[in-house]
C-alpha cells in the first residue's frame, strides 16, 4: 500500500514542489484536454436536453473528468474497460462517436443497444467498452474475470473497472478484489471517490480512513491519487497497468474527486449537501486546472480554447440533430437477443403484441 495522496499539480495547475509530471507529448496532452472539455460540454448539453424533456434521464460526470479520462488513457486499445455509469469520458477517449451516444440517449433505431436501456447505458464491443448496467458494484467481479481470463490464456490484456465510493460497500467489491488478490489478475480497480453516493457522504459509507487502504485486505496494491489531477491519475494508473502486464497482479486506485452536480437529473443535491462544500471543490475543478497547466506550459491558449469550444459545440449539435430525427427501433426487436435465437414463447408473445396492435387500430377505425 503506497502512502499518501499522489498529486502533481496544485489547483492553479502549477507543478507542486518536488513533483515531476509524466512525460507526455503535446499531442497527447491536447487530446486529453479535448476529451475532458468535450465530456463536460456533452454533459451540460444533455442535462439541458433532459430538462427540456427531449431525453428521459441523464447522468453527468462534471468534476470527475480527470479521474475518468486520465485512467483510461493509461490503457492500450485492446485492454478492457468495464464502466459504471459515469465514464462517458473513457468512452469518448476510445472513440465512441457522439452520434452513437445521442442515438442511445434517444433509444432510437440506430442505437446499438436497440433502445433497450435508459440513457447513459451504452456499450461497445468494438471498443472493448463493457455494457453499462444500473446495479451498483456488480460489474466489479467482471473485471476480475477478464483479468483472470487474460492471465489464463497468456495474454497481456488488462481490465480497468470503474465504480464509485458507494460501490465499495457492496459484497461484489469484496469478492472481486479477493479473487483478484488470490489469482493475481490483471485488473485495475478504479474507485471514483466523488464523496457522495446520492445523498450519503463518504464518511457514512465506510469507517475506513481511506478507500485505497482496503487493498490491504486482499494484499493487492492500493493507491490514493488526486482525482482532479489528470497527470497524476494517468501516472498511477499507468504504473498499475505496467505492474499487471508484468504479472504482478491487481491494483486498487482511489481517485479522490468530487461530484459537482446532482447524482443524476432525477436528483437535487441542495436538499442534502452544503453549497459551501461544492464551492470549495469547484476551485479544484480538473478541467480548469489542466487548462491552466497547459497554458502555463505554452501548449495552449485562450484563443485556441475559444475555437475548441466552438468546434465542440458544433460537433454536439450536429450529432444531436441527426440522432433526434431517427425514429424508434422496429418493435419486433423487443423480442430479440433474449437468447441467441427467439424461443417459441417469445414468438407467440411477439404475435400477441402484433395482434393487439392491429386490434387497437381496428378499434380506432370503428
Amino acid at each position: 500500500m503506497s502512502e499518501g495522496l499522489v498529486g502533481f499539480l496544485d489547483p492553479e495547475g502549477k507543478v507542486l514542489k518536488g513533483q515531476k509530471v509524466p512525460s507526455l507529448n503535446r499531442k497527447d496532452l491536447l487530446r486529453l484536454y479535448r476529451v475532458m472539455l468535450l465530456n463536460r460540454r456533452v454533459d451540460e448539453r444533455m442535462i439541458t436536453l433532459q430538462r427540456q424533456g427531449r431525453i428521459g434521464f441523464y447522468v453527468g460526470s462534471m468534476g470527475e473528468e480527470a479521474a475518468i479520462i486520465g485512467s483510461a488513457f493509461a490503457l492500450k486499445p485492446k485492454d478492457w474497460i468495464i464502466p459504471c455509469y459515469r465514464e462517458l469520458g473513457a468512452a469518448l477517449l476510445r472513440g465512441f462517436p457522439l452520434f452513437d451516444l445521442c442515438c442511445q440517449l434517444f433509444g432510437n433505431e440506430q442505437d446499438a443497444i436497440k433502445g433497450r436501456q435508459m440513457p447513459n447505458h451504452y456499450a461497445s464491443r468494438k471498443l472493448r467498452f463493457g455494457s453499462i448496467s444500473s446495479p451498483v458494484g456488480n460489474q466489479i467481479p467482471h473485471a476480475t474475470g477478464i483479468g483472470l481470463a487474460a492471465r489464463l490464456t497468456g495474454s497481456k490484456d488488462v481490465a480497468l473497472v470503474y465504480f464509485g465510493d458507494g460501490a465499495t460497500s457492496e459484497g461484489d467489491f469484496h469478492v472481486a478484489l479477493n479473487f483478484a488478490g488470490v489469482y493475481k489478475t490483471s485488473t485495475i480497480f478504479l474507485c471514483r471517490n466523488n464523496q457522495w453516493a446520492i445523498s450519503v457522504p463518504r464518511q457514512f459509507q465506510t469507517a475506513s480512513r481511506t478507500l485505497a487502504e482496503k487493498a490491504t485486505a486482499y494484499n493487492i496494491e492500493g493507491v490514493e491519487v488526486d482525482g482532479n489531477d489528470i497527470l497524476a491519475v494517468y501516472s498511477v494508473t499507468r504504473e498499475a497497468v505496467d505492474r499487471a502486464r508484468r504479472g504482478e497482479g491487481a491494483t486498487l486506485i482511489e481517485a479522490v474527486t468530487y461530484r459537482q452536480g446532482g447524482h443524476s437529473t432525477s436528483d437535487d443535491p441542495r436538499v442534502y449537501r452544503d453549497e459551501k462544500e461544492v464551492q470549495e471543490w469547484l476551485k479544484k475543478d480538473p478541467i480548469s486546472r489542466f487548462k491552466s497547466y497547459l497554458i502555463n506550459d505554452g501548449a495552449w491558449s485562450e484563443t485556441k480554447d475559444a475555437s475548441l469550444e466552438e468546434q465542440i459545440k458544433d460537433e454536439i449539435e450536429v450529432a444531436l440533430k441527426k440522432a433526434e430525427k431517427i425514429g424508434p427501433p422496429c418493435i419486433d426487436t423487443m423480442f430479440e437477443d433474449v437468447l441467441d435465437t427467439v424461443p417459441w414463447n417469445l414468438e407467440e408473445q411477439r404475435e400477441e403484441l402484433r395482434a393487439s396492435q392491429e386490434y387497437e387500430s381496428v378499434q380506432q377505425d370503428r
Partner: protein
Amino acid sequence: MPTINIIQAVNDALRAEMKRDDRVVIMGEDVGKFGGVFRATQGLFQEFGSDRVFDTPLAEAGIIGCAIGMALYGLRPVPEIQFVDFIYPAFDQIVNEAAKMRYRSGGQFTCPMVIRAPSGGGIKGGLYHSQSPETYFIHTAGLKVVMPSNPYDAKGLLIASIRDDNPVIFLEPKSLYRAARGEVPEEVYVIELGKAKVVREGEDITVVTYGAMVRVALEAAETAAEEDQFSVEVIDMRTLLPYDIDTVIASVKKTSRVVIVHEAPRTCGFGAELSATISEKALLHLQAPIFRVTGFDIPFPYTFEHHYLPNETRILKALRDGMDF
C-alpha cells in the same frame, strides 16, 4: 378526509407506526436526512432522529442482514430497498434466512420486518428500474408478499404489515406513487393481510390483478361495459402470499370466465399460479380458457415500455376473447 397519493400514504403509515411502537426502525439507502429518493420517508429522520431512521452503506445484503439481526433482538425494522431491481444482493438473506428463520428454529426465533421496495414499470426506467420480481418471493415459503394499488390500501396494508409477525415484502407500484390519489383517513387503520378486494362487481367475467394494473383493468372494464354491454368483475389481490383464494374462486364460480393481468413476465409468473389453482378448484365452472395478460418474457425494455406493459387494449381483447369463447 384528505386526498393524498401513495407516497404520502406510505409516509403516513410509517409515521403512525413509529409513533405507536418505538421498536419500529427505518433504514436504507438515502432514507435519512434526504427522505428517500421517492421521498417516502420524508421528515421522519427529522421527527424521530437518527436512532430510528438512518442511512445505510450501499449494500442490500447488509441492509437485510442487519435488519434480521435487529428483528431477532426485538426491533421491528422497516428496511427500504431503493428499487426492487436492486434487491438481489439480499436474496440469500431473504430466502435462506428471513424466510426460514421461524421454521428452522422450531418457532424460537422470528424475523418480523417489512422490506419496502418500489416495484414495476411505467417511469421509463428500463431494465433496472422497472422490474416486477414478485414471483421470486411468492415462490418462497415463509414470506408474506403485499402490493397495494391505491393510497387507502397502501396505508392500511403497510400498517398491517408492520404489525405482522412475519417477514413481509411490501411492493409499492412506483408508477402510481404520485399518480394514484384518493381519500385517506388521518386515523390509523389496518387492512387485514391475505384478503383480496372486489373493486368492481360484475357478472360476466372476472379480472384478477393487483398493483398498477388494477387501474388499467378498471378502465378496460368500463369500456367493456359501455361498448360491449358485458359486466366485468375486478379483483385487486392486494396480498400475493398467502393469497385470498376464496374471493377468487367465489368470483369465478359466479362469472365462469377469467382474465389474469400482471406486469411481471408470464412464465412462472403469479398468473400461472392463479390460473393453475383456479383450474384445479373450479374447472367445471369455467366456460372459457383462463387468459393471461402479462409482461413479456423479456428483460424490461426502455423505448418500448408501453408495449411491454399490459394496456387497456390487450386486456379488452382478452375480455372479449373470453366472452366470445
